[in-house]
Symmetry: C2
Subunit: 418 residues, 2 copies
C-alpha cells in the first residue's frame, strides 16, 4: 500500500509540473468538457449515488451516521445542476496563473518580474459530499495544480463514478497532462499523504474540528483550513435594537451548523434594550445560555451563549481569548468603538453592523471557494482561487553579475515598471 500511495504522489508531482504552464484556453476547454460529460452521464452518477445511499441508509438506522450526513451524500437533479453550473462558473473566472504581480527594473537591462504560479500538488480530504469532488477538481485545474482527493467513505461509489467521468473528459482534451486529478480511498492513504511532504505541497481538510486538528498535528505539510468557528457579536451600548435583533437572528438561525454562525453574544451592560433583544431571540426559538460550560463551544445549533461586558475593550479581550479567529462583529452607532473593534479583534473577518454569515467566498465575490481559513499565514478568511497560487521571480539580464554591484562599479536603479 505504501508504495502505491507514493506512486500516486509522484505521478501527481509530475502532472503538477506539466499543468503549471498550460494555457488558459486548454484549461477552460477541459472544464467545459467536464461540464458536458456530467450532463451526458448524469444517470450513471445517480445510479452510483443510489448504491451509496442504500448502504448509508443502513448506517443511519444503526446510528452510525446522521440524517444530515445522509442528506449531504444525496445527489438530486438540483444539486447536479448546481454542480455542473459550478464547473462552468470556474471556467469563466479569470485565470489566476501567470499574472504579473510586479515588474521592476533592478538596473539597465536587468528586469525582475513577480509572476503568480501554482502551488504544486494539493491533498484534499473532505466529507461525504460528492459535489465537492467536482468543485475541488475544477478549482485545481483552473489554478494549474495537481490534486489527490480523499472523500468520505460513504460516498465512495459516487466519487469513483464522478472521477471516472472527469478523467475521461480530460483525456479527450489535447495537450492536457495525465494524473492531474487522482483519488484515494483508504485511511492508510491519508496516513501516507500526511507523511508525503516530498511530493505534496498543501493539504486542505474540509470537515469537522477533530479531523482538522488531527491533520494539523500529524503532518509537516502546510494545512489550510479552520478547526472551529466560534463567532461572536458584540452589541454595544449605542446599538439600534432592531438592527441588533435582525443581525443576531440571521447570524444564528439562517444556517446554524455553518462555521460562520454566531455562537456567543456579548452585550454592553449599559445597552438599555438588552431584555428586549434577548426576548426577540427567544421568539425565534434560539435557546439562550448565560452560563455555558465553556466560552469556546461551537453549538452548530439554535443555541447561543451570552454575556454582559463592561466595555468594548472587554468584548475585544473576550473575543481574542475565546474566539477562533474566524468572524466577529460589532453592532454599534459609535464609530470610535467600531474602528477600535475592527482594528483590535484578531480575526479573519471583523464586521460592523452585518451578519457573520457573510463570511463566504461567493458572497465576497470570489466566484468560488476552496474553504475558509483561520491561518495567520498564506491565506486567511474565505479562500478563492488566489489561495491556490504562489509566485515565482523571473529575472532577465544580459550577463549581469553581482560582483559589479558589490565593487560599486554599477548601481541598482530599482525602478517600478508595473
Amino acid at each position: 500500500m505504501d508504495l502505491d500511495f507514493v506512486q500516486i504522489a509522484k505521478s501527481a508531482k509530475k502532472a503538477s509540473l506539466e499543468i503549471a504552464d498550460l494555457s488558459s484556453v486548454i484549461k477552460n476547454e477541459a472544464l467545459n468538457k467536464i461540464a458536458i460529460a456530467f450532463e451526458e452521464n448524469k444517470q450513471g452518477i445517480f445510479e452510483a449515488n443510489k448504491q451509496d445511499l442504500k448502504d448509508a441508509e443502513i448506517l443511519v438506522q444503526k446510528g452510525e451516521i446522521t440524517q444530515s450526513t445522509f442528506n449531504r451524500l444525496k445527489l438530486d437533479e438540483n444539486k447536479m445542476r448546481d454542480m455542473i453550473q459550478g464547473v462552468r462558473d470556474i471556467a469563466n473566472l479569470e485565470d489566476p496563473i501567470g499574472k504579473k504581480l510586479f515588474v521592476k527594473e533592478l538596473d539597465e537591462g536587468l528586469i525582475l518580474t513577480k509572476v503568480s504560479c501554482p502551488i504544486g500538488v494539493l491533498g484534499i480530504i473532505f466529507e461525504a459530499r460528492p459535489d465537492v469532488i467536482s468543485q475541488i477538481s475544477s478549482l485545481a485545474i483552473k489554478s494549474s495544480n495537481a490534486v489527490i482527493l480523499k472523500g468520505g467513505k460513504e460516498s465512495k461509489n459516487t466519487n469513483k463514478k464522478i472521477l471516472e467521468i472527469i478523467n475521461c473528459a480530460l483525456k479527450s482534451v489535447k495537450g492536457f497532462p495525465e494524473n492531474v486529478v487522482q483519488q484515494v480511498f483508504s485511511r492508510d492513504d491519508v496516513a501516507q499523504m500526511l507523511k508525503c511532504d516530498e511530493y505534496i505541497n498543501l493539504i486542505i481538510p474540509r470537515g469537522g474540528n477533530n479531523l482538522v486538528k488531527f491533520i494539523k498535528n500529524n503532518t509537516n505539510i502546510p494545512v489550510l483550513g479552520h478547526a472551529s468557528g466560534i463567532c461572536h457579536i458584540f452589541v454595544d451600548k449605542s446599538a439600534d435594537i432592531n438592527m441588533a435583533s435582525k443581525v443576531v437572528v440571521d447570524a444564528k438561525t439562517q444556517y446554524p451548523s455553518a462555521c460562520n454562525a454566531v455562537e456567543t453574544l456579548l452585550i454592553h451592560k449599559d445597552f438599555d434594550k438588552a431584555d428586549e433583544l434577548l426576548a426577540s431571540l427567544q421568539l425565534e426559538e434560539i435557546k439562550l445560555v448565560s452560563n455555558p460550560e465553556a466560552w469556546d463551544i461551537e453549538y452548530g445549533d439554535k443555541i447561543l451563549s451570552y454575556k454582559f461586558v463592561n466595555s468594548a475593550d472587554e468584548a475585544i479581550e473576550h473575543i481574542n481569548t475565546y474566539g477562533s479567529g474566524h468572524t466577529d462583529g460589532i453592532i454599534t452607532s459609535d464609530m470610535e468603538n467600531a474602528e477600535k473593534f475592527m482594528n483590535k479583534v484578531d480575526s479573519s473577518g471583523v464586521y460592523l453592523n452585518a451578519s457573520t454569515r457573510f463570511a463566504d467566498g461567493f458572497r465576497y465575490g470570489f466566484g468560488a471557494e476552496v474553504g475558509i481559513s483561520t491561518n495567520k499565514t498564506h491565506a486567511r478568511g474565505p479562500v478563492g482561487l488566489e489561495g491556490l497560487t504562489i509566485y515565482k521571480y523571473k529575472l532577465t539580464g544580459n550577463g549581469h553579475i553581482v560582483d559589479d554591484y558589490v565593487k560599486g562599479e554599477k548601481h541598482f536603479t530599482h525602478k517600478t515598471i508595473i
Copy 2:
C-alpha cells in the same frame, strides 16, 4: 522552565495584539530611538562582544567552532555602522500594515475591505551573528509583530546587551507596548517554542540545513525558510561563451558559501565552447567535479559539479529532480528555450543570463530581508517586510443580513471600488 517559556509566549501574544494597530509614527520613533541608543551605547556592546569572542577563541582552538563562525560573531566599527544604518533604513521603508489591498461594494451600503495586518508572534532562531538581532527586531517592529529571539549561544553576551539597549529605547517611546521584543537562550526554550502553537504564529529559522530540517520536522507551526540552496546554471547550445563564463564565475566565486551560489553546471552537449568554458572556470580556481557522489550537494565552497545534457528539457528535468527550488538560471540566446526554462523550472527564482547571486531582498529592492524561502505557500524567494504580514477582511453594513440574499430579495453588486 516550561512555565517560563509559556509565560514569555503569552506575553508576546498580548504584546502582538497591542502593537497590531500602532501608528507608523510611533513605530518609526521607536526604530530611530533604537538607532540612537546603539550609537550612544556601542562601547558597551563592543565590551559584551569581547567577552563572547574570548570564549569563542577557546572554542576555535578546540575545533568546536570554525574560524568563519568566529568572524561572523565579531562586531567591529564597520558592522556596527551597518547595523545602525539598517535600523534607520527599515524606519524609512513604507509601513506594510494597514494597506487597503482592495475595497469592494458587495451591495449598496455593504463594503468589504481587505487590509494588510501583522501575523502575530514570530519565533526566530538564528546563528551566532549579533547583527541579526537588531535587524530582525526592527523588521518585527515595523511590521507590528511581536518576536521571540533565540540566537546562537556563542553570541549570548552580545545579544543580551543589544536586547537590553533595544528594550531600554522602546521603554522611552510613549504608547509603545511592553514585551514586543523578547529573547530566550536555552535549547529547552527552543523545544518549548516548537510546541507553542497556541501563541506563536510563524517560526523563521536562519542557519544550516540540519537546523531548518529539524525544525520543520518538529513543529506544527508554519516555518518560513530554506533548508538548502542547490542552485543550477544551464548553459544552452546558443550561449555566448564570455557571458556564460562571467556569470558562472560570479555565481560560484562571488561568495561561495551563500545559499544562492551555484552548485551544479549543466551544459548542452552541442555547446561548442564547453572546453573553453570549463578551462575558464578552472583558471578562477573552481574545482570541477564531473562525477559527484550525488547531484544535490551544497558545497558552499569553490567546487562545482557539472554534467552534459541532451536538451533544455533534460536540464529542466534535472533541476526539478535534484534542485531545492531556490534559484536556477539559463544562459542562452534562444528565447524559446529561455521561456520554456523559466516557465517549467519550479523554483522561487528563474534567471535568464544573470548570476544566481542576485537572489537577495536588498538586490530585489525590498529594502530589507527576513530570509529566503523555498516554501510553496505564503512567501517564496527573498522575503521582505510583506512576508511578515497577512490580511483581514473588514465588512461594514447597516444591518445587512444573509437571509435577504438567500431568499432573492436582495442581490449582490460585487463592484470593485479600489
